[in-house]
C-alpha cells in the first residue's frame, strides 16, 4: 500500500464497503478497501441476506426500492455462489387486525409501483402449506430476493479490483479523519476521501456517531427442500424492529437455495458479547414454531449471532461528515444492509462526484445527526 496514491480509502470490507469500492472504481477513482478481519465479515456474514422493500417510512421505502432495482439490474452478472433467488416475501397476518395492515401495505406499495398481492387464508395455505392453520392471510411481495452476502461482497470487490481497486485484509484501523487513516501497527495512509463503512464498529473509529449495536440470532437447518418457498415474515416484525429498548423476537424464516432453512429473528440492545444467548434463542425458535409447527422436528445444524448497526431514526448514514471535509459515512444500515448496499454506494458517489442522485438524499445525510444533537 503506497501512500498518497489512493483517491479513496474505505474502512470495512462488508457488503457496504465493497459496494462503495465497486462504485468508486467503476467511476474512475483509485480505491483502497481495508478491513481488520475477513472479506464479507461482520453483519454481512451473519445476516439473512434479504433484498426487500420496506415501508416503515418514505425514506426507507425510497432507498430499499431504489436498491432492489439496482440488484435486479445486476442479477444477470452475479455468479452462482451469490445464490440470488427471487423467492419473494410473504408478510404473514395472524389475525384480522394484521390483515388491515396487509391491506394498508398493499395500497401503499401499489401507489408506488411495487407489485404485491393480497392472499386470503386459502391462498396463503396453498403457497405455504407448512404455516400453521388459522392464519388470516398475508401479503405476497414477489420481487423480494434472498442471496448469500459474503459471496456477493466478494463479487463486488472483484469487480472493483478489475477497475484497479485494492483490498487489504487483516489491517485494523484505529483512527480515521483529516485525510488520513491510521492503522493499529502505527502506520498511516493519506487520501482525500475517507469512507467509514465499518458497520457495527463504525463507532470505534468515531465514538461521536449515534450508532448502537443490535444483536441478532440465527439458526440454520439441514436440507429440507420444499418445506418453505418464500421468505416469511410476521407483521409483528415491524413492532420488533421499532422497539428501541426491549429485547424482541419476531418470526422471520427464509429458504436458502441449498434447501436449508434460515430461522430468525431477534433484536437486543446493549448486548455487547457475541455468545449465543440461550434464552432469546429459545424464544425466537418458539416463536418460529408457533407460525410453522413443522420446524420443531427439523435438524438445526448451527446457531450464530451478529450485530446490526442501528441509528436512532432507523435510517442509514450516507454522505459527508460535517466536521471533516475528507470524511464520509456509509454505515448504520440496521437490518437492511444487504438490501441498501448498492443504493448506498450509488448515492454516496453521486454526492461526491457531483452527479444528481436518483432519490432525495437528505434523510440519510449524517449532518442530520449533528442537528439532532444540537436540538437535544
Amino acid at each position: 500500500m503506497a501512500d498518497g496514491i489512493y483517491d479513496v480509502i474505505i474502512v470495512g470490507a462488508g457488503i457496504v464497503g465493497t459496494a462503495c469500492a465497486e462504485e468508486f472504481a467503476r467511476r474512475g477513482k483509485r480505491v483502497l478497501v481495508v478491513d481488520r478481519d475477513v472479506l464479507g465479515g461482520g453483519a454481512t456474514a451473519a445476516g439473512m441476506g434479504h433484498v426487500v422493500v420496506m415501508d416503515d417510512s418514505e425514506a426507507q421505502f425510497a432507498i430499499t426500492r431504489y436498491s432492489q432495482r439496482l440488484w435486479q439490474a445486476l442479477r444477470p452478472e452475479l455468479p452462482d455462489d451469490v445464490e440470488y433467488e427471487q423467492c419473494g416475501t410473504i408478510w404473514v397476518a395472524a389475525d384480522e387486525e394484521e390483515m388491515e395492515e396487509v391491506r394498508r401495505k398493499h395500497e401503499y406499495y401499489g401507489a408506488r409501483g411495487v407489485r404485491t398481492e393480497i392472499l386470503d387464508a386459502g391462498a396463503l395455505k396453498k403457497l405455504e402449506p407448512n404455516l400453521r392453520a388459522g392464519m388470516a392471510g398475508g401479503l405476497l411481495v414477489p420481487d423480494d430476493v434472498v442471496l448469500y452476502p459474503p459471496c456477493a461482497a466478494r463479487y463486488l470487490i472483484e469487480r472493483a479490483q478489475r477497475n484497479g481497486a485494492e483490498l487489504r485484509l487483516g489491517r485494523a484501523v484505529v483512527a480515521i479523519g483529516e485525510g488520513r487513516v491510521k492503522f493499529a501497527d502505527g502506520s498511516n495512509l493519506q487520501a482525500k476521501l475517507l469512507v467509514n463503512a465499518a458497520g457495527a464498529w463504525a463507532t470505534q473509529l468515531m465514538p461521536e456517531l449515534e450508532i448502537k449495536k443490535r444483536k441478532g440470532h440465527l439458526v440454520i437447518t439441514d436440507r429440507y427442500a420444499g418445506f418453505i418457498w418464500h421468505q416469511l415474515v410476521e407483521l409483528g416484525y415491524l413492532k420488533s424492529a421499532h422497539s428501541v429498548s426491549v429485547d424482541s423476537v419476531a418470526f422471520n424464516v427464509q429458504p436458502r437455495r441449498t434447501g436449508q432453512i434460515l430461522i430468525g429473528s431477534s433484536r437486543q440492545y446493549g448486548a455487547e458479547h457475541k455468545e449465543v444467548d440461550h434464552v432469546i434463542l429459545a424464544r425466537m425458535l418458539a416463536r418460529a414454531q408457533e407460525y410453522m409447527p413443522g420446524l420443531a422436528g427439523l435438524s438445526a445444524i448451527r446457531t450464530w449471532t451478529g450485530f446490526r448497526a442501528a441509528t436512532p431514526d432507523k435510517l442509514p448514514l450516507i454522505g459527508p461528515w460535517p466536521k471533516d471535509s475528507s470524511l464520509f459515512l456509509a454505515t448504520g444500515h440496521e437490518g437492511l444492509g444487504i438490501t441498501t448496499s448498492l443504493a448506498t454506494a450509488r448515492i454516496l458517489v453521486d454526492q461526491i462526484m457531483g452527479a444528481e442522485p436518483e432519490i432525495p438524499i437528505e434523510p440519510y445525510l449524517p449532518s442530520r445527526m449533528s442537528k439532532e444533537s444540537v436540538h437535544a
Binding site: A282, G297, R302
Partner: protein, 423 residues
C-alpha cells in the same frame, strides 16, 4: 415432544467408553450418585463396541451395573444453558442434567484425509468398517485393503480377518524406521508387549507395507479398486472395501463449548484430571490419544478426584497413567503424518464432504473462518468434524470458537431452553 424432569447427579460423566466407565464406576464406588451418558446404544465407546468380549470391559460393565450408575444411552449433549447443567437430546425428548462435578470422557474419532475417490461408498474409516462389521455388516469372503496410519490398522485387520474377510494389504504411511522405533518403544510397556506378540501371530500371512498409502480409489457408485503407493511404485488392488483412517483426533467440542483450556491441541488437565474449569474433569483420549490403559487410569483418577477422595491403589493408577502418557507420546511420534499426504487431493477432490467443497475452491482462503464464509466448508451437518482435521493438516487452519449446539439437534430441542434451567 415431552420433556422429562431434570435429573441431578453428584457426578455426571459424558461418554461411556473406557474412560467414562472407569470414572463412573470409581465415583459410584466412592458413594456418589453418578450418571453416565453416551450417544451410542450401549457402553464401551469405540474400542469395546458390541458384545464386550474383552474381560476388562466386562469387568467395568459389571461394576457399573452393581453400583447402580444411571446410564443414559442414545443421549447427546448439545449445550450448557447454565453452569452445572447440561442439555442433552434423545430420540423423543430432551433432558436437563444437573451436576456438582462433571467428567468429560468424550473420546476420539478417526482422522480422514482426502484423496481422489475417497467419497465412494465402501470407502470407510478403518475403525469405521470395524464398527459397521460389529453392527452386523457381513464381510465373509470380501476383499479389504486397510490403509492409513496407526495401531488401529492392525487391530482392524486382525478383527476383519477373524470375521472372514480377505485382507489384501495393510498400507501404513509411517516409515520402517519409525515403526522399528515403535516396536522398540513398546518394550517399555508390559501389557503392550503381550498384545504386540499376539498381534504378530494374528497378522501372520497378511501383507504389510510401510511407507505406503492410497493415492486413489476407483469405481462407479461403489469402490472397485484402490491404487496404493508401495515401495516407490503404484499398484492397483481390486477390493470390496477400503478401510482407511489416519489415527485419531480428540473430541474437543464439548470441552471447548464449556470453556476448557487446551494445551497442544488436547484438553489441559492437572494431576487430578481437573481442567481449567473448577468442577470439570477430563479423562481419556481428549487429554492425549493413548488408548485403553491411559483412559481407564485417568478415568479412575478423575472419579476419585471428583468425589474428593484419595485414590485407592493410587500408585498403580499413577503408574498406569504415566505409562499411558508415554505411550501416547510414542504413538504421536510414530504415526505423525508425512507431508506427502498433503499432495494426495487433486484440485477436483472434495475436501468438505457435507458441502462438496473441492480443494480448488478452498486453498486460496487464508483461514478456516474465511473458507467457511466463502465456500461453506465446515458449515454442514458434521460441523467440521471431518473437514476440520483435514484442513488443519492440508492448510494449517485452526478451527474457531464452538457454539451450541455441539451436535445437530432438533429445532424444538433448542427451543426447550426458553425456560431458564431449574436449580
Amino acid at each position: 415432544m415431552n420433556e422429562t424432569a431434570p435429573q441431578r447427579f453428584d457426578v455426571l460423566v459424558v461418554g461411556a467408553g473406557p474412560a467414562g466407565m472407569a470414572a463412573s464406576v470409581t465415583a459410584a464406588e466412592c458413594g456418589a450418585r453418578v450418571g453416565v451418558m453416551d450417544d451410542n446404544v450401549a457402553a464401551g465407546g469405540q474400542i469395546w463396541r458390541g458384545n464386550l468380549e474383552d474381560p476388562e470391559a466386562n469387568s467395568w460393565s459389571g461394576r457399573l451395573r452393581a453400583k447402580g450408575v444411571v446410564t443414559l444411552f442414545g443421549t447427546r449433549v448439545f449445550d450448557q444453558p447454565a453452569p452445572g447443567c447440561l442439555l442433552a437430546e434423545r430420540a423423543d425428548d430432551t433432558v436437563e442434567l444437573h451436576y456438582e462435578k462433571l467428567i468429560l470422557a468424550t473420546g476420539a474419532r478417526e482422522r480422514f484425509l482426502p484423496f481422489p475417490g475417497w467419497t465412494l461408498p465402501s470407502v470407510m474409516g478403518a475403525g469405521g468398517l470395524q464398527a459397521m462389521v460389529k453392527s452386523g455388516l457381513p464381510v465373509q469372503g470380501k476383499r479389504v485393503v486397510v490403509a492409513g496410519t496407526g495401531p488401529l490398522l492392525l487391530a482392524v485387520a486382525v478383527y476383519l480377518r477373524k470375521q472372514g474377510a480377505e485382507i489384501s494389504l495393510i498400507c501404513e504411511q509411517a516409515s520402517w524406521s519409525r515403526l522399528a522405533r515403535f516396536g522398540m518403544g513398546l518394550l517399555r510397556f508390559r501389557k503392550k508387549i503381550g498384545e504386540g506378540l499376539l498381534l504378530r501371530k494374528d497378522l501372520a500371512g497378511i501383507p504389510f507395507a510401510a511407507n505406503s498409502w492410497p493415492t486413489a480409489a476407483h469405481g462407479t457408485g461403489n469402490i472397485e479398486s484402490v491404487t496404493v503407493l508401495r515401495g516407490g511404485r503404484t499398484l492397483e488392488i481390486a477390493c470390496d472395501y477400503l478401510a482407511c483412517g489416519f489415527h485419531l483426533v480428540p473430541n474437543l467440542e464439548l470441552p471447548l463449548l464449556l470453556g476448557c483450556k487446551l494445551a497442544d491441541g488436547f484438553v489441559q488437565v492437572d494431576e487430578l484430571q481437573q481442567t481449567s474449569l473448577p468442577n470439570v474433569f477430563c479423562a481419556g483420549e481428549p487429554t492425549g490419544i493413548g488408548g485403553v490403559e491411559k483412559a481407564t487410569a485417568e478415568g479412575s483418577i478423575a472419579g476419585f478426584a471428583a468425589c474428593g477422595k484419595q485414590a485407592s491403589e493410587k500408585d498403580e493408577l499413577l503408574r498406569a497413567r504415566k505409562e499411558g502418557k508415554q505411550f501416547a507420546s510414542l504413538l504421536k511420534n510414530t504415526f505423525a503424518l508425512r507431508l506427502e499426504l498433503r499432495n494426495l487431493p487433486t484440485f477436483d477432490t472434495i475436501v468438505c464432504r457435507c458441502e462438496d467443497v473441492t480443494f480448488s475452491r478452498l486453498h486460496r482462503n487464508r483461514s478456516w473462518r474465511e473458507a467457511k464464509l466463502h465456500t461453506r466448508c465446515g458449515m454442514g451437518a458434521c460441523q467440521g468434524r471431518v473437514c476440520g482435521p483435514v484442513t488443519q493438516f492440508l492448510f494449517g487452519w485452526n478451527p474457531d470458537s464452538v457454539r451450541p449446539p455441539v451436535f445437530p439437534v432438533r429445532v424444538e430441542s433448542l427451543a426447550a431452553l426458553s425456560k431458564p434451567a431449574s436449580r
